[in-house]
Subunit: 408 residues, 2 copies
């Protein structure tokens, strides 16, 4: 037997980065070459980029997740369901809520968290689109507000108001689902749609910063037509149980009353990064060209916890599923190379294939392979991208099981 001194590879997190690393690595190495352990809080993977649909209630939360057991090869990968508390890099050890594990190679792919920038009351009074649990809570919260409005004698119209904080990717995609969901809720609870108000509050001077301005206009015009009121260049100063206090520039703050506030504006890295004492900016570690942590060559950091500098503007690439998956493909190869003693590590370069922002089931905007798209073609591409993520991790069987085929 040659198994005694098998190198231990530990992968933290089964999001896009971690799960794809595990799936790729199990193909690249033999059973006797390494002991691979995947650790995740839940026994399922969820599509972070689909959570806005589960939150609006336009797609059931079971459609946005699948069992990790269905895509890993159990003979090669051990799965441990546990939460990561801290990484002790000097001891090559990870502290879990219910135990600890040592490693020779560590992949940190713990995902991001919501960044509230210290805005008062946001943590207590706003929802975030960050997990299956939080998404279905948003869905149920909105529905309960509508049911209560119908039942109460003294009707409070602000129950029907929804504030979305942030007109970035998540905010816009959530709004796209919400405007399709509201007519269904109005029918279910017999409420005139004109009584429902949807506000989007964005501190930046434009929606979807960085996106092509023509496409942004297409998106905001469509959402406005469906009832969204945009407050661009307007900051949320405070979130209270009644709603949000907002102000444009130095204006006096005004209150937007709302039964539901969803904060969709900020993503940061993971607090485990900070707890572990690693050098970081908002929970993200600036990695080397092999995606490793400086001074700890046995630790690879992927996805929302890693910052890869874009040399064009000297700023980190925004955290997306696309970059996380490209990082995972490379990391699996590099770890396999280390295990097999080849040590021919490859450098990471981000190949930006484009971005599509959905605007509900049948509309979207995007730039794909440098080409601008709107409407059907963009919406079609979005579903192709969604299905491709499934294919990368679980192949055809997973696409058939969880894929999006509502093309027309």
């Amino acid at each position: 037997m040659t198994t005694v001194n098998k190198p231990k590879v530990v992968i933290l997190g089964a999001g896009y980065g971690g799960l794809l690393t595990a799936v790729r690595l199990q193909k690249l190495v033999g059973v006797n070459d390494a002991e691979i352990t995947l650790i995740n809080k839940n026994d399922y993977h969820y599509e972070t980029t689909w959570l806005h649909e589960a939150s609006a209630g336009t797609l059931h939360h079971d459609r946005v997740r699948y069992n990790i057991a269905d895509v890993i090869n159990r003979s090669k990968v051990n799965f441990v369901q546990d939460s990561v508390e801290e990484i002790k890099a000097d001891e090559k050890k990870v502290i879990l809520s219910n135990g600890e594990v040592t490693y020779d190679y560590l992949v940190v792919a713990l995902g991001g968290e919501s960044e509230t920038f210290g805005i008062k009351g946001l943590k207590e009074n706003a929802f975030t689109i960050t997990s299956v649990d939080s998404s279905r809570q948003i869905r149920e919260h909105i529905e309960y507000q509508f049911a209560t409005y119908s039942a109460e004698a003294d009707k409070q119209e602000e129950r029907l108001s929804i504030v979305v904080g942030g007109a970035g990717f998540t905010g816009i995609e959530f709004l796209g689902e919400l405007v399709n969901r509201i007519p269904q809720l109005c029918k279910e609870y017999e409420i005139e749609q004109s009584k429902v108000n949807i506000y989007c509050v964005e501190a930046a001077p434009m929606a979807l910063p960085g996106f092509d301005p023509g496409l942004v206009s297409y998106a905001t015009a469509l959402l406005e037509k469906k009832g969204v009121e945009f407050n661009i260049g307007t900051a949320i100063k405070e979130c209270t149980p009644e709603g949000v206090l907002v102000a444009k520039g130095d204006e006096e703050p005004r209150l937007i009353k709302a039964g539901t506030v969803v904060w969709a504006a900020g993503v940061r890295g993971n607090e485990v990064i900070e707890k572990s004492g690693f050098e970081n900016i908002r929970g993200r570690v600036t990695v080397d060209s092999h995606l490793r942590m400086p001074a700890h060559e046995d630790i690879f950091i992927l996805g929302d916890c890693s910052a890869v500098i874009n040399e064009e503007n000297n700023r980190p690439f925004p955290p997306t599923a696309q970059i996380a998956m490209q990082q995972a493909v490379l990391t699996a190869k590099n770890i396999a190379s280390l295990i097999q003693g080849k040590n021919d590590l490859k450098e990471f370069t981000f190949d930006n294939k484009g971005t599509v922002c959905s605007l509900g089931e049948h509309d979207a905007i995007g730039v794909v392979f440098g080409k601008k798209l709107t409407g059907f073609s963009a919406s079609f591409m979005k579903k192709v991208i969604d299905n491709r993520a499934l294919f990368m991790i679980g192949g055809i069987p997973l696409v058939l099981k969880k894929g999006k085929f509502n093309i027309f």
Copy 2:
């Protein structure tokens, strides 16, 4: 034309009593014999006796209601959607929220309301199973509590506790649905069922007072097996946002923490009766043998607003759909007789065909034509009774559209 002096018949309420009166009357009189107006708050009738299912979420609220327009003959009955404020008997006039109407014959079938017996905090903090609106609010409230429990970091188990105040008919039937709904909710929100607590608190010394004790034991044993904790002979002293304060006899009150409190213990008549200055006991008028109000022979009172004395025990019959419908059949005949100048008014006698109390979809207890039933046969009879109510008002078409055929 002989229409000038047509007598005006006004029917207030489209519950079991009012709607059946309208439907029967439209068959008994010709278009030119009378002007019949039916007034109801909603444009739909709902099955009050099915609301516990909509409240638990085991039957969609659209299944428990149908459009009034579908069962009345528009050429004979005018339908007015409005709320009744007051009856001015001396002026033969009814004040509505948006107008008024005069009558020659008035049928008051406004239905009952929840009776809270002055228990502190109940109106503010407890739900009642009294309408489509309130039922779907209960359904959504419970679901939101489960969704929130799953999403919150600091889990509050009392969110998963439900207190049902009252072990009478409504309370027991609601519990029967609830114990079937909880496993579905636990699956949807990934909650261990052992964390859910259902309490039934009843001040009387037994559940379902007046029912056969053997049948009551059957019901409580079944519900206990499915997780209900009965607190019989225990009064709710106060309802707070945290739960209910209860006490057995002179004991020190103790708090049962619960995210949801449903008050299902008391029914009274309608506040319009009181506002109109009629002699009443808790909103119910003791009617004469023709179901008329003493001193106002042009006013017939049916259903939950009327008290018909049972000569066997000198107490009023409990308000049920069964008695309301029998009253409606007689009242339609009597009014037709008055209109047609025959004046051979018939006296009301209640023909108690029995009672069935459901315990979820496939179980029940009951006494039908003097025979005790449990389990499948009782459950089957309950569906027969439910379908019969539909048949009485809307004939075969309504039974086919809204009937219950989930017999196996």
